[in-house]
């Protein structure tokens, strides 16, 4: 851009100076030639009056002059001296003007060389005097000038380009910073701010208004996430009281009537759901606020999944039978870095989802992701169910919060928190992995999570080697 500017500028300046100089030089030369031609014309008039022969007169007029050729038109005849310029070489317009009694001059190109033709009528002797001057010297000068200007133009362009690059790099650096900060903020790093640079007051204004905008944005976002968090927080004290009191009633349920007992069951069922909803809301609002503390541990994925399935089956008290856990031997010694509590929730939520909407999980598979070879770097865990499967249009949406798809009227629909799969997605994201839903082999739904794995750091043979920390 800067180079283009420099080019345009130097071409324009070059052209202007060339044409101005040329005009000055040419008109100067013209004046000189007109002056010399009129002197010659006066001389010719004098000589002709004195009765000299026309050709002799021309020779005398041209004496000592090699730059020009003289022609004389008198009584229908052309007289010339050097035969270098035939009368046909004179432009017709010039001849007409001179013939009509007006002295005139014209610059034009003849045989590729610039010439000036000056015509002066000499009415006293009924003759028109013409003199044609070669402008060789002038055109040489102009050639040199043009060359110099082109050279200067090229140099200006190159320099301009270099200067432009340097200057734009320098002056755009703050803008690069702004764009980088905007990208960081969009990706959730709300603490990102621009550092006010020295110097340019325009940039200082931009920096401060940018930072102000981000401050307000951050405040609003934090306010909203804090609200969700505060609400859940405030709900916990009454929930604790409720849970403890209900536990007392449950311990004495044998003393209650059937109706009271049924009412108590409904109460405690929904209280548990309420507790989980509050816990899930808190967890998800923490994740939104970016304040989730994750503590990673290195674990064996197969063992982790087996334990998580067993723990979920226990804690959820699901009516459906526990799924098979299949471990692909190709997994090798790949280890996972996970937050175990969160991973357990992921598996529990997937099993619960399968129990509610898919007639229970049938098989849980652990294996390497296909695109990583051998003891690869990614581990896949998939949960299949025996249900009707998910319509393709809902596969992405089931991970949305409180999403109720076609399964909204199914038996298990009223018992979940509506945040189960959203939390799965949130937890998997915290682990740098991904989750998706697809169709299982038998037509049911399959939820697959893929987590980045670690190469085993300690192999079995040297497991007893001790490194004190």
């Amino acid at each position: 851009m800067f180079a283009l500017g420099a080019l345009v500028l130097s071409v324009t300046m070059g052209a202007i100076s060339y044409f101005t100089t040329r005009h000055i030089l040419v008109s100067g030369q013209e004046n000189a030639e007109i002056h010399s031609a009129s002197k010659n014309a006066t001389f010719v008039q004098q000589e002709i009056r004195d009765g000299y022969h026309t050709v002799t007169v021309l020779t005398a007029a041209d004496y000592g002059n090699t730059r020009s050729s003289s022609l004389l038109y008198r009584r229908g005849n052309w007289y010339e001296r050097q035969f270098s310029v035939p009368p046909s070489a004179l432009p017709k317009s010039l001849r007409t003007m001179v013939h009509d009694g007006t002295p005139a001059s014209l610059t034009y190109t003849r045989n590729g060389k610039p010439v000036i033709a000056v015509g002066i009528p000499i009415p006293a002797v009924h003759a028109d005097y013409y003199e044609v001057f070669a402008l060789t010297a002038l055109s040489k000068t102009l050639g040199v000038l043009a060359l110099a200007l082109v050279g200067a133009g090229v140099a200006t362009t190159v320099l301009g380009a270099a200067l432009g690059r340097w200057a734009s790099g320098r002056s755009l650096r703050p803008l690069t910073g702004v764009s980088r900060a905007a990208v960081a903020i969009a990706s959730g790093e709300l603490d990102t701010r621009l550092i006010a640079g020295r110097g340019d007051p325009d940039l200082a204004a931009l920096t401060s208004s940018f930072n102000e905008m981000v401050d307000q944005l951050q405040e609003r976002i934090e306010h909203e996430t804090r609200f969700a968090s505060d609400v859940s927080h405030e709900l916990r004290s009454p929930l604790t009281t409720l849970a403890a009191s209900l536990a007392v009633l449950e311990a004495h349920s044998a003393d209650l009537t059937d109706a009271s007992r049924r009412a108590l069951e409904l109460l405690s069922g929904d209280l548990r759901r309420f507790q989980r909803l509050v816990a899930d809301l808190l967890e998800i609002s923490r994740s939104d606020a970016g304040t989730a503390d994750v503590s990673f541990e290195e674990v064996d994925p197969a063992e982790l999944v087996r334990q998580a399935v067993a723990a979920a089956q226990r804690s959820l008290a699901l009516e459906t039978p526990a799924p098979r856990v299949e471990v692909d031997p190709a997994l090798g010694g790949t280890r996972l870095l996970v937050d175990k509590r969160r991973f357990e929730r992921v598996i529990a939520n997937l099993l619960e989802n399968a129990a509610h909407y898919g007639g229970g999980a049938t098989v849980v598979r652990v294996g390497p992701a296909p695109h990583t070879n051998g003891a690869g770097h990614h581990v896949r865990v998939s949960v299949d169910d025996a249900g009707p499967g998910l319509p393709a249009t809902e596969r992405g949406r089931v991970f949305e919060r409180f999403y109720r798809g076609h399964a909204a009227n199914m038996r298990g629909a009223g018992t979940g928190t509506g945040l189960g799969l959203a939390l799965v997605a949130e937890h998997v994201r915290l682990h740098g992995g991904k989750v998706w839903a697809e169709e299982a082999d038998g037509g049911g739904a399959r939820f697959t999570i893929e987590l980045p794995g670690e190469q085993a750091e300690v192999d079995e043979e040297h497991a007893d080697e001790v490194r004190a920390t």
Partner: protein
Amino acid sequence: MPSRILVVEDDERIRSSMRLALEGEGYEVDEAASGEEGLERFGAHPSDVALIDLMLPGMDGFECCRSLRHQSAVPIIIVTARSDTHDVVAGLEAGADDYVTKPFVTKELGARIRALLRRVRPAEDEPTVLSFGDLELVPEEGVLRRRDGTEVHCTKTEFRLLCELASSQNKVLSREQLLDRVWGYDYFGDGRLVDVHIRRLRTKVEPDPALPRHILTVRGMGYKLVP
């Protein structure tokens, strides 16, 4: 003689419901509405387990925990608002043995209390005295002492943890195994419980806690004790 539990909690309704629930489980309950009152109550009549809410007006739960730990080896359970914050680690560092997160289920709290009240019962074939370095552990008596006879004070949980490690000398015990044996947690117990307690133990049994010679960390595996 039922076990006695001190509940330090400023919310009166929670306190009352916890009293009902814990009494339903067969415990004797002592209540305190503030940290200061809790310490006073404990001084007047020591309990077998203390339950301390971390968010208390006046003296906060951490301070209460530290003061209580200073005067007694009683098992302490802290009640936290969040399980994934530094609160848990800070509470454990202040001397707590375990934690529950609000809103907790009474059953869960009961399980935590029972685990802490369990006594160390060495297996039949185990020696009555376990020793390493210049230290001796007597599980029967719950005593840890140096060979010269001076007693080293540690909490019940620290003692149980040390017994587990010392009875499997030179063998690596994973965090999961230790959580199960000492705290009664399954595979998904909080590994930070083990880590903080190991740190605390090292300050008591290691000549230089920064360069441990007996209680070693085996990276990615767990801990082991070498004599």
